[in-house]
């Protein structure tokens, strides 16, 4: 039963920043990733004094990032962008084959998009994806495969 404090936030940031940014670039799009990153880590910092060293910090921060990404989609659906429209992401390195995939990823429902990115960009296991999304292992798997199916159809 260790109740030690977590590592200094600066160390935590150095350890998880890259993975969180990679996740967010695909999960909310390159254009919104920086804002989502701020939101994610500020929210983490607010709760950080209550975290214990033995909680899984990698899962904890991805849970916050996933929630931020899903909220982000909801806000945009309510916003001026009509739903269903393919967001026009400025891809920093606009290779033509990538542009299609970016657009296809942009059409996925929020939870599927997050699940696909956790599985196929960050290589996380299904039990962790379930943990992060607050659903069962099977539901996590179902979200990933439904997302991939849509991507394949869109890309065809």
């Amino acid at each position: 039963m260790r109740t030690q404090s977590p590592p200094p936030f600066e160390e935590f940031l150095a350890e998880h920043g890259t993975a969180v940014m990679r996740f967010l670039i695909v999960a909310v799009g390159p254009e919104h990733a920086d804002d989502a990153y701020q939101e994610t880590f500020l929210s983490a910092l607010r709760g950080y004094a209550r975290v214990r060293d033995d909680s899984r910090l990698d899962r904890w921060i991805l849970r916050i990032a996933s929630r931020t990404a899903i909220d982000h989609h909801r806000r945009r659906l309510r916003g001026p962008t009509p739903s269903g429209e393919v967001p026009d992401y400025p891809v920093h390195d606009p290779e033509p084959p990538d542009a299609g995939l970016w657009a296809a990823v942009g059409t996925l429902p929020a939870k599927q998009r997050v699940a696909v990115v956790l599985r196929h960009v960050l290589d996380r296991p299904y039990d962790e994806i379930g943990d992060v999304l607050g659903c069962s292992n099977d539901a996590a798997r179902a979200n990933v495969s439904a997302g991939l199916k849509t991507l394949r159809e869109t890309m065809r």
């Binding site: 590592p7 160390e11 940031l13 990679r22 290589d123």
Partner: protein, 205 residues
């Protein structure tokens, strides 16, 4: 398809973008009052100094060569894990140290956070803080000042553990014959600081 997803954003891209975003995050965290231990560095003639400031005041000054990772972990467990580089919160301490090394300041006007000191060290360092710029005291004199005249050795150990050197002037405490004896930052630094303050040991001898 899944291979394409993996190559959509490279880890190197994500890393450089995260590092840029971290700068913005540190500023926002500070502005929002969410930083409990602010870190900053400054250059000095005795090497880069690393300072830690909390809302209560200056908590630590570390010399170049000290293990900052170990120190930051100590801050996390003793003070708060919300430890972040923050320029504004450390600005006052950094500026006053600059002025001191430029010879433009003899007294520091900074609040201190003494939570990294043991109760005994607090007593010893409190007495040490009253040795003025340009003067020195012996270990025995400091021991006498806190009412423990036989505790010179324990006083030496407490001074060695001083988390806020320079500002809490443990360099002004010397051996009975006026020799520099020890300094956590190394005798060369102690000699430099005393020289900056006009070599008071020479006068004592």
């Amino acid at each position: 398809m899944t291979k394409d997803l993996r190559t959509l954003v490279s880890a190197a891209d994500a890393r450089s973008r995260a590092q840029a975003a971290d700068e913005r995050l540190r500023a926002a965290a500070q502005a929002a009052g969410e930083v409990d231990v602010a870190l900053g560095t400054l250059d000095s003639p005795i090497g880069e100094l690393w300072v830690a400031v909390t809302p209560r005041g200056l908590a630590c000054i570390a010399f170049d060569g000290e293990d900052r990772e170990v120190l930051a972990r100590r801050f996390a467990s003793v003070l708060s894990p919300r430890v972040l580089s923050a320029s504004r919160m450390t600005e006052d301490a950094r500026r006053q140290l600059d002025e001191y090394f430029d010879g433009r300041r003899q007294r520091f006007d900074l609040r201190l956070d003494r939570r990294l000191m043991t109760p005994f060290a607090r007593e010893v360092l409190g007495a040490t803080a009253r040795v003025p710029f340009g003067e020195v005291a012996t270990y025995g004199a400091v021991a006498a000042r806190i009412g423990k005249p036989k505790a010179a050795r324990a006083v030496g150990a407490a001074l060695g553990s001083n988390p806020i050197p320079i500002v809490v002037p443990c360099h002004r405490v010397v051996g009975a014959s006026g020799t520099l004896t020890g300094y956590a930052g190394g005798l060369e630094r102690k000699a430099f600081l005393l020289h900056l303050e006009g070599d008071p040991t020479l006068f004592q001898m």
